[in-house]
Symmetry: C2
Amino acid sequence: MNPTNHQLRLAARPSGLPEPSDWELTSEPVPQPHANQILVEVSHVSIDPAMRGWMNDLPSYIAPVQLGDVMRAGAIGRVIASEHPGFAVGEHVFGLFGVQEFAISDGSGVTKVDPSIAPLPTYLGALGWTGLTAYFGLLEVARLGAGETVVVSGAAGAVGSVAGQIAKIKGCHAIGIAGGAAKCRWIVEELGFDAAVDYKAENVRAALRERAPDRVDVFFDNVGGDVLDAVLTRLARGARIVICGGISQYNARQARGPANYLALIAARASMTGMLVFDYADRYAEATAELAGWLREGRLVSREYVVEGGVSAFPEALLKLFTGENIGKLVLTVP
Amino acid sequence: MNPTNHQLRLAARPSGLPEPSDWELTSEPVPQPHANQILVEVSHVSIDPAMRGWMNDLPSYIAPVQLGDVMRAGAIGRVIASEHPGFAVGEHVFGLFGVQEFAISDGSGVTKVDPSIAPLPTYLGALGWTGLTAYFGLLEVARLGAGETVVVSGAAGAVGSVAGQIAKIKGCHAIGIAGGAAKCRWIVEELGFDAAVDYKAENVRAALRERAPDRVDVFFDNVGGDVLDAVLTRLARGARIVICGGISQYNARQARGPANYLALIAARASMTGMLVFDYADRYAEATAELAGWLREGRLVSREYVVEGGVSAFPEALLKLFTGENIGKLVLTVP
């Protein structure tokens, strides 16, 4: 067994985009599990926009990562030692193991994953929180109905790419907003979105007027900023906006709200914030349905895998904000 | 019969606060009703923040007032000639009669009002769209529950003052945000709000931390801007924000959205726009309940009556934006 556990810790609170000096790479001996604990060897770390929020010292739905702590992260790993009756050595598991090579866990919040059903990284993508967020956001928060027009921002990203595909599976007209021709081509040609809007090359408002002439019934927003403001001008009556994220604002020193929010009145529309954790008691049922769609080829999960281990995390995280990744950003840990 | 009908027409589209030059006072002979029409002598004109929106040439829930048209306004009047089988001379009616002394109507959207139940101006206040907006906003959009903490902005205004009182009637803890000591005193001492926040003298966020320690379950917002941003930082989990209006933004040349809107995620909260017109089929039932509360003394309707007839409308409208009125702003037409 590797005697050393390399870890990435939060060293300073960033203002704006995280910088190398906000992180510290440390190492310590690999710990051994006590009674009712497991030792997990981490293989894949999930890199999510929400992480940027966890780095701020602000009250939110989850406590901030403290300075000096191992950076919080969802991750996949293999149980390599177990003193826990519920987990056996060799099993693959998902949990909040953090950006490190080995993690001790008491099993809370840890779920088993089956590499015979899908490759391990997919359990951070379509079969993980990513896919579940899209699933519950559209089906529970937005209460999607067949035939509706659904717009998704960050449509080539982890959650957005699944959301658009679920909209199609549910018989909706799906339009994705993404940055750049490659992403727009991918979501239409590979994922089956009906149309794409390239926010870097097009006027989003004008493009939606053309591609969603009957206006927007559901907007699944991962982006905020100008994109949200543009969609607000094109709402159908009774539209539902799911606020899943606002990546355009996460590094802003001066956050900006949607100037067109009063359009909610004319459209009798709603804007609702969501967190996937509220649906934990239904993860199994939803994952089974998502896995079925994957098996049938109706749902594509794409992961953008970065190699290099925990020391590569700081640079990998920035890819989310430069929009480099297509699909779910995953860091492998050797 | 007065042979002349004085009318106020929209002459130009304002940018920012409406100016005297945006209006034109005209007169024409009082028309006579044709078959299935009534002639109404207007006595009270409703002055509402929403009017500012009707003056913009922008698509919304209702067509803009066209340049040269009589300004749209809800009003109370008396039928003085009738060729309509549903209306008799002498009856008092409410309808979109406009800012003029006499109006012809085919009866559509016209409801009868009973001055033996409440004074005529009250039919523009607690027993009119004002009261109905507060009623349906809290009970239908927010789905208010007993024991919840309800915050109302524009709390000394027409809709806000009724909303806070309905919250109290429904067993909630009601906190009003208003500008100035007189308004704050009035809503607590006369209307029975549990507490007030004077946004002109206090830090709203700090005041809410103190006066709503269990956070805010329902926010009925008439104001937007800094007030909305402050309340967004104090949401309880599952909070519902009713977007009834945003008077702080109506004259802004550069509208501003709620920079803290991402707080909706952490709180799993919603922000929903509403228009009272969607509940037209339930006006009668709601008005009966509101009238019952008035009769029992549990609900106070206060009107701020400005005299001077249609020529006084332009200046009276501005009182809404300077915050001069307490209660429902009404213009009498002699």
